[in-house]
Protein backbone atom coordinates (compact mmCIF):
# COMPACT_ATOMS: atom_id res chain seq x y z
CA UNK A 1 0.00 0.00 0.00
CA UNK A 2 1.45 3.36 -1.01
CA UNK A 3 0.48 6.92 -1.89
CA UNK A 4 2.07 9.46 -4.21
CA UNK A 5 3.38 12.69 -2.72
CA UNK A 6 1.00 14.71 -4.94
CA UNK A 7 -1.99 12.68 -3.74
CA UNK A 8 -0.83 13.11 -0.15
CA UNK A 9 -0.64 16.90 -0.51
CA UNK A 10 -4.05 16.88 -2.16
CA UNK A 11 -5.33 15.02 0.91
CA UNK A 12 -3.64 17.43 3.31
CA UNK A 13 -5.13 20.40 1.41
CA UNK A 14 -8.68 19.05 1.11
CA UNK A 15 -9.34 16.73 4.01
CA UNK A 16 -6.78 18.23 6.34
CA UNK A 17 -7.00 22.01 6.13
CA UNK A 18 -10.27 22.31 4.19
CA UNK A 19 -12.15 19.60 6.07
CA UNK A 20 -11.03 20.84 9.47
CA UNK A 21 -12.01 24.39 8.50
CA UNK A 22 -15.51 23.25 7.53
CA UNK A 23 -15.90 21.39 10.81
CA UNK A 24 -14.62 24.40 12.75
CA UNK A 25 -17.08 26.71 10.94
CA UNK A 26 -20.11 25.03 12.47
CA UNK A 27 -18.64 25.39 15.97
CA UNK A 28 -17.71 29.03 15.35
CA UNK A 29 -21.23 29.82 14.14
CA UNK A 30 -22.81 28.23 17.22
CA UNK A 31 -20.50 30.20 19.53
CA UNK A 32 -21.23 33.49 17.77
CA UNK A 33 -24.95 32.78 17.60
CA UNK A 34 -25.47 31.67 21.20
CA UNK A 35 -22.82 33.35 23.31
CA UNK A 36 -22.66 36.70 21.57
CA UNK A 37 -26.38 37.29 21.09
CA UNK A 38 -27.36 40.56 22.79
CA UNK A 39 -30.34 38.76 24.36
CA UNK A 40 -28.32 35.81 25.68
CA UNK A 41 -28.91 35.46 29.45
CA UNK A 42 -25.49 33.87 30.15
CA UNK A 43 -22.53 36.24 30.47
CA UNK A 44 -19.48 35.85 28.24
CA UNK A 45 -16.64 35.18 30.66
CA UNK A 46 -13.00 36.09 30.08
CA UNK A 47 -12.36 32.39 29.51
CA UNK A 48 -15.09 32.18 26.83
CA UNK A 49 -13.71 35.30 25.21
CA UNK A 50 -10.17 33.89 25.09
CA UNK A 51 -11.46 30.57 23.75
CA UNK A 52 -13.42 32.20 20.91
CA UNK A 53 -10.47 34.39 19.96
CA UNK A 54 -8.09 31.41 19.73
CA UNK A 55 -10.76 29.37 17.94
CA UNK A 56 -11.28 32.00 15.23
CA UNK A 57 -7.54 32.56 14.90
CA UNK A 58 -7.10 28.83 14.20
CA UNK A 59 -10.05 28.89 11.81
CA UNK A 60 -8.46 31.75 9.85
CA UNK A 61 -5.11 29.90 9.80
CA UNK A 62 -6.83 26.76 8.46
CA UNK A 63 -8.62 28.78 5.77
CA UNK A 64 -5.36 30.39 4.63
CA UNK A 65 -3.50 27.07 4.66
CA UNK A 66 -6.29 25.47 2.61
CA UNK A 67 -6.33 28.13 -0.13
CA UNK A 68 -2.56 28.59 -0.27
CA UNK A 69 -1.75 24.86 -0.53
CA UNK A 70 -4.60 24.56 -3.03
CA UNK A 71 -3.51 27.42 -5.29
CA UNK A 72 0.25 26.99 -5.10
CA UNK A 73 0.78 23.24 -4.62
CA UNK A 74 -2.17 21.18 -5.82
CA UNK A 75 -3.59 23.44 -8.55
CA UNK A 76 -0.33 23.51 -10.60
CA UNK A 77 -0.38 19.68 -10.67
CA UNK A 78 -4.05 19.78 -11.68
CA UNK A 79 -3.52 22.17 -14.61
CA UNK A 80 -0.21 20.71 -15.85
CA UNK A 81 0.04 20.60 -19.66
CA UNK A 82 0.84 17.18 -21.16
CA UNK A 83 3.87 17.03 -23.46
CA UNK A 84 3.28 16.68 -27.18
CA UNK A 85 2.58 13.09 -28.10
CA UNK A 86 1.45 12.05 -24.62
CA UNK A 87 -0.59 8.86 -24.89
CA UNK A 88 -2.18 9.01 -21.45
CA UNK A 89 -3.79 11.98 -19.70
CA UNK A 90 -3.97 10.29 -16.29
CA UNK A 91 -1.24 12.56 -14.87
CA UNK A 92 -2.97 15.70 -16.25
CA UNK A 93 -6.33 15.96 -14.43
CA UNK A 94 -7.62 19.14 -16.08
CA UNK A 95 -6.93 17.78 -19.58
CA UNK A 96 -8.38 14.42 -18.64
CA UNK A 97 -11.65 16.03 -17.52
CA UNK A 98 -11.86 18.25 -20.63
CA UNK A 99 -11.15 15.31 -22.96
CA UNK A 100 -14.55 13.79 -22.24
CA UNK A 101 -17.84 15.72 -22.65
CA UNK A 102 -19.34 13.80 -19.74
CA UNK A 103 -16.66 15.06 -17.34
CA UNK A 104 -15.77 18.47 -18.84
CA UNK A 105 -18.21 20.36 -16.56
CA UNK A 106 -16.28 19.19 -13.50
CA UNK A 107 -13.61 21.60 -14.74
CA UNK A 108 -15.63 24.30 -16.55
CA UNK A 109 -18.15 24.63 -13.73
CA UNK A 110 -16.62 22.92 -10.69
CA UNK A 111 -12.98 23.99 -10.75
CA UNK A 112 -13.73 27.42 -12.28
CA UNK A 113 -16.12 28.10 -9.39
CA UNK A 114 -14.07 26.46 -6.65
CA UNK A 115 -10.78 28.19 -7.45
CA UNK A 116 -12.29 31.63 -6.79
CA UNK A 117 -15.10 31.12 -4.30
CA UNK A 118 -12.80 29.34 -1.82
CA UNK A 119 -10.94 32.63 -1.20
CA UNK A 120 -14.04 34.12 0.41
CA UNK A 121 -13.35 31.83 3.38
CA UNK A 122 -9.97 33.27 4.50
CA UNK A 123 -11.07 36.87 3.81
CA UNK A 124 -14.29 36.48 5.83
CA UNK A 125 -12.71 34.46 8.64
CA UNK A 126 -9.77 36.86 9.02
CA UNK A 127 -12.26 39.71 9.31
CA UNK A 128 -14.29 37.78 11.92
CA UNK A 129 -11.09 36.99 13.83
CA UNK A 130 -9.97 40.65 13.80
CA UNK A 131 -13.38 41.79 15.07
CA UNK A 132 -13.35 39.22 17.87
CA UNK A 133 -9.78 40.12 18.83
CA UNK A 134 -10.76 43.78 19.16
CA UNK A 135 -14.24 43.60 20.65
CA UNK A 136 -14.28 40.27 22.48
CA UNK A 137 -17.36 40.10 24.65
CA UNK A 138 -18.06 43.73 23.75
CA UNK A 139 -19.38 42.42 20.42
CA UNK A 140 -22.70 42.00 22.24
CA UNK A 141 -22.96 45.78 22.37
CA UNK A 142 -22.79 45.98 18.56
CA UNK A 143 -25.75 43.95 17.32
CA UNK A 144 -25.35 44.94 13.65
CA UNK A 145 -21.65 44.11 13.68
CA UNK A 146 -22.23 40.70 15.28
CA UNK A 147 -25.01 39.90 12.78
CA UNK A 148 -22.86 40.94 9.84
CA UNK A 149 -19.93 38.84 11.09
CA UNK A 150 -22.33 35.89 11.37
CA UNK A 151 -23.43 36.45 7.73
CA UNK A 152 -19.82 36.49 6.58
CA UNK A 153 -19.04 33.26 8.44
CA UNK A 154 -22.14 31.58 6.93
CA UNK A 155 -21.05 32.62 3.42
CA UNK A 156 -17.49 31.49 4.17
CA UNK A 157 -18.83 28.10 5.23
CA UNK A 158 -20.92 27.84 2.04
CA UNK A 159 -17.87 28.80 -0.04
CA UNK A 160 -15.71 26.19 1.71
CA UNK A 161 -18.48 23.62 1.28
CA UNK A 162 -18.66 24.30 -2.48
CA UNK A 163 -14.87 24.09 -2.74
CA UNK A 164 -14.81 20.89 -0.72
CA UNK A 165 -17.58 19.22 -2.71
CA UNK A 166 -16.05 20.01 -6.10
CA UNK A 167 -12.57 19.20 -4.86
CA UNK A 168 -13.69 15.74 -3.76
CA UNK A 169 -15.67 15.08 -6.97
CA UNK A 170 -12.90 16.33 -9.25
CA UNK A 171 -10.38 14.17 -7.43
CA UNK A 172 -12.75 11.24 -7.82
CA UNK A 173 -13.04 11.72 -11.60
CA UNK A 174 -9.44 12.77 -12.27
CA UNK A 175 -7.19 12.14 -9.26
CA UNK A 176 -4.03 14.13 -8.64
CA UNK A 177 -1.15 11.69 -9.01
CA UNK A 178 2.59 11.90 -9.44
CA UNK A 179 5.66 12.74 -7.45
CA UNK A 180 7.46 10.49 -5.06
CA UNK A 181 5.82 7.20 -4.06
CA UNK A 182 5.48 6.93 -0.29
CA UNK A 183 5.03 3.40 1.05
CA UNK A 184 2.42 3.20 3.82
CA UNK A 185 2.23 -0.52 4.62
CA UNK A 186 3.32 -3.83 3.19
CA UNK A 187 0.71 -6.50 2.47
CA UNK A 188 0.81 -9.74 4.43
Amino acid sequence: MDISSHALWSLVHGMGFGGLYLLACSGGLVELWRRFAPSSPAPVTARDERFVRIYFFLMAALAWLAVLTGAYMVYPWYRAIPPAGATSLSAFPQRLLLSNPSTAAWHSLGMEWKEHVAWLAPISTTMACAVLMRYGRGLRDHRHLRNAVLCFVVVAMMAAGIAGFFGAEIDDHAPIEGGKIIPIAHGG
Binding site: A46, A71, P76, W119, I123, V131, H144, F152
Partner: protein
Protein backbone atom coordinates in the same frame (compact mmCIF):
# COMPACT_ATOMS: atom_id res chain seq x y z
CA UNK B 1 -17.93 35.98 44.78
CA UNK B 2 -14.18 35.84 44.33
CA UNK B 3 -12.17 38.38 42.41
CA UNK B 4 -11.74 36.08 39.39
CA UNK B 5 -15.50 35.66 39.02
CA UNK B 6 -16.04 39.40 39.37
CA UNK B 7 -13.41 40.06 36.72
CA UNK B 8 -14.89 37.47 34.40
CA UNK B 9 -18.40 38.90 34.45
CA UNK B 10 -17.57 42.60 34.52
CA UNK B 11 -19.02 44.42 31.50
CA UNK B 12 -16.48 45.79 29.04
CA UNK B 13 -16.68 49.46 28.07
CA UNK B 14 -18.35 49.92 24.69
CA UNK B 15 -15.76 50.34 21.95
CA UNK B 16 -16.28 52.58 18.93
CA UNK B 17 -17.86 50.74 16.02
CA UNK B 18 -15.41 52.16 13.45
CA UNK B 19 -12.80 49.41 13.87
CA UNK B 20 -15.32 46.67 13.16
CA UNK B 21 -16.99 48.66 10.38
CA UNK B 22 -13.62 49.09 8.61
CA UNK B 23 -12.88 45.35 8.86
CA UNK B 24 -16.37 44.47 7.65
CA UNK B 25 -16.62 46.84 4.70
CA UNK B 26 -13.10 46.09 3.49
CA UNK B 27 -13.88 42.35 3.54
CA UNK B 28 -16.95 43.04 1.39
CA UNK B 29 -14.96 45.24 -1.02
CA UNK B 30 -12.13 42.66 -1.17
CA UNK B 31 -14.58 39.88 -1.96
CA UNK B 32 -16.21 41.96 -4.69
CA UNK B 33 -12.79 42.89 -6.09
CA UNK B 34 -11.92 39.20 -6.30
CA UNK B 35 -15.03 38.45 -8.37
CA UNK B 36 -14.57 41.52 -10.60
CA UNK B 37 -10.87 40.87 -11.25
CA UNK B 38 -11.58 37.18 -11.98
CA UNK B 39 -14.20 38.15 -14.58
CA UNK B 40 -11.88 40.74 -16.14
CA UNK B 41 -9.09 38.18 -16.32
CA UNK B 42 -11.40 35.67 -17.95
CA UNK B 43 -12.59 38.17 -20.58
CA UNK B 44 -9.36 39.90 -21.57
CA UNK B 45 -6.31 37.95 -22.78
CA UNK B 46 -3.89 40.83 -22.09
CA UNK B 47 -5.15 41.24 -18.54
CA UNK B 48 -5.00 37.47 -18.07
CA UNK B 49 -1.30 37.51 -19.05
CA UNK B 50 -0.73 40.39 -16.64
CA UNK B 51 -2.36 38.37 -13.87
CA UNK B 52 -0.06 35.40 -14.40
CA UNK B 53 2.39 36.19 -11.60
CA UNK B 54 3.31 32.55 -11.00
CA UNK B 55 3.16 30.47 -14.16
CA UNK B 56 2.31 27.06 -12.63
CA UNK B 57 -0.79 28.58 -10.96
CA UNK B 58 -1.62 30.79 -13.96
CA UNK B 59 -3.87 33.88 -13.78
CA UNK B 60 -5.33 32.72 -10.45
CA UNK B 61 -2.09 33.83 -8.80
CA UNK B 62 -2.50 37.45 -9.94
CA UNK B 63 -6.27 37.57 -9.54
CA UNK B 64 -6.10 36.53 -5.89
CA UNK B 65 -3.00 38.61 -5.12
CA UNK B 66 -4.60 41.73 -6.63
CA UNK B 67 -7.86 41.15 -4.73
CA UNK B 68 -5.99 40.59 -1.46
CA UNK B 69 -4.06 43.82 -2.02
CA UNK B 70 -7.31 45.74 -2.66
CA UNK B 71 -8.79 44.23 0.52
CA UNK B 72 -5.79 45.02 2.73
CA UNK B 73 -5.26 48.55 1.35
CA UNK B 74 -8.95 49.43 1.75
CA UNK B 75 -8.87 47.94 5.27
CA UNK B 76 -5.81 50.01 6.18
CA UNK B 77 -7.31 53.26 4.85
CA UNK B 78 -10.73 52.72 6.47
CA UNK B 79 -9.06 51.64 9.72
CA UNK B 80 -7.05 54.86 9.91
CA UNK B 81 -10.14 56.95 9.23
CA UNK B 82 -12.70 55.12 11.38
CA UNK B 83 -10.91 53.31 14.21
CA UNK B 84 -11.71 55.90 16.90
CA UNK B 85 -15.16 56.86 15.65
CA UNK B 86 -18.64 55.48 15.72
CA UNK B 87 -19.99 54.94 12.23
CA UNK B 88 -23.47 54.03 10.97
CA UNK B 89 -23.15 50.29 11.39
CA UNK B 90 -26.54 49.30 9.89
CA UNK B 91 -25.59 51.05 6.65
CA UNK B 92 -21.98 49.78 6.58
CA UNK B 93 -22.91 46.20 7.45
CA UNK B 94 -25.71 46.17 4.84
CA UNK B 95 -23.27 47.43 2.19
CA UNK B 96 -20.66 44.84 3.19
CA UNK B 97 -23.17 41.96 3.09
CA UNK B 98 -24.54 43.09 -0.30
CA UNK B 99 -20.99 43.25 -1.71
CA UNK B 100 -20.23 39.77 -0.34
CA UNK B 101 -23.42 38.23 -1.77
CA UNK B 102 -22.90 39.90 -5.17
CA UNK B 103 -19.30 38.60 -5.17
CA UNK B 104 -20.51 35.11 -4.28
CA UNK B 105 -23.03 35.18 -7.14
CA UNK B 106 -20.55 36.64 -9.67
CA UNK B 107 -18.16 33.76 -8.98
CA UNK B 108 -20.73 31.21 -10.16
CA UNK B 109 -19.52 30.50 -13.72
CA UNK B 110 -22.95 30.69 -15.49
CA UNK B 111 -23.45 34.17 -13.99
CA UNK B 112 -19.84 35.26 -14.60
CA UNK B 113 -20.23 34.19 -18.24
CA UNK B 114 -23.01 36.77 -18.71
CA UNK B 115 -20.41 39.56 -18.65
Amino acid sequence: MDSRETRDFSPSPSLPSGYGAAALLSAGIGSFALAAIAIASDRNAGFRRLMTLYKPTGPLSGVTTAALLVWLIVWGVLHLRWRKRDVRLPLVSAAAIVLLIVAFLLMFPPIADLF
